[in-house]
């Protein structure tokens, strides 16, 4: 089964409360462009993520606001920042890494919230059987190319609002020379 690939650069999800602290009381996120997952969008806003060791500027805020604040980075970013975040699904933040988010209006010091996102495939419940993925929690996906390979530990993420797509981080993409919109094959 073929699957299109979405490459996720480092990004931030914010609660309404943290959005206000970072950008001001009456601030609302503005859409820069839609993402492939329904209702999700890259906003026009960016923040700085910061540790004692280092910082990374221009980290995109993804909208809309969520019930949790979460910073998603790659292992390459983690080395730069001097943190050791766990590999996690979205929202599974217990024991994840501390990080500080800095906006134009203020900052938020998170005791936990920084993760490296799990490799995952977004899929609708109705597509599971159709695509031969019923009952599977993880699959492997073949990535072709001059530095091709097979990535394991790809979580199947079922939701009622999903666009069928493999999401990988920039380390996975750059290691395999894969770009947004390339095609992988679920094994």
């Amino acid at each position: 089964m073929k699957v299109s690939i979405g490459v996720s650069n480092r990004h931030v999800h914010l609660t309404q409360e943290h959005l206000k602290i970072l950008f001001g009381t009456n601030f609302e996120l503005e859409k820069k462009n839609d993402l492939t997952q329904p209702k999700q969008y890259a906003s026009t806003s960016v923040v700085t993520i910061k540790t004692e060791k280092s910082q990374i500027d221009n980290v995109r805020v993804i909208g809309p606001v969520r019930s949790y604040t979460q910073v998603e980075i790659s292992k390459t970013d983690a080395y730069k920042l001097g943190v050791n975040p766990p590999i996690r699904d979205s929202g599974d933040l217990e024991g994840s890494s501390p990080i500080t988010i800095v906006g134009p209006n203020g900052y938020v010091e998170l005791e936990e919230g920084c993760i490296i996102p799990t490799r995952h495939i977004h899929i609708l419940p109705t597509q599971l059987e159709l695509y031969g993925l019923s009952g599977l929690e993880e699959v492997s996906v073949k990535l072709d190319g001059e530095k091709g390979g097979i990535i394991n530990n790809v979580h199947i993420k079922v939701s009622e609002e999903a666009f069928f797509e493999l999401h990988i981080d920039t380390d996975d993409a750059n290691a395999h020379l894969v770009k947004n919109g390339d095609i992988g094959e679920i094994l």
Copy 2:
């Protein structure tokens, strides 16, 4: 067959001529520490690599000097620098990317010389049969872990001075959460 893994960070090899331009006429490379490949060492010297778009400081010079000057970077570095280097074995530089190397004494503008190194395994001729790799140009290697997988297109690099080891770049290492000294399995 198990193989230990060496992770290559971005680095530079220099000719004697370029070493003089960058560091001064009577300059000689000083050993910081030995690398696992015989006679190769990380020197105490670093340079800046530079393009019109950006630059990366503190890039390690590997000694001893060679018959060619070569800049080895990852795809992540390539995006930062705005170059599109080919995936190449060491010394195969025809048509590779232009880049400028800056040292404390001067700079060298290379018309070609910047590559992303091929994934490769160093091996002695006498080890080929022993390890079941006779006649193979490429193999795949399994990397275990929480973001495990199989990397393809791993070149077999036979030489009379080799320490049996898999060399991958930081993108491959970070994508699979692999560190220097970890173990892979040749398939």
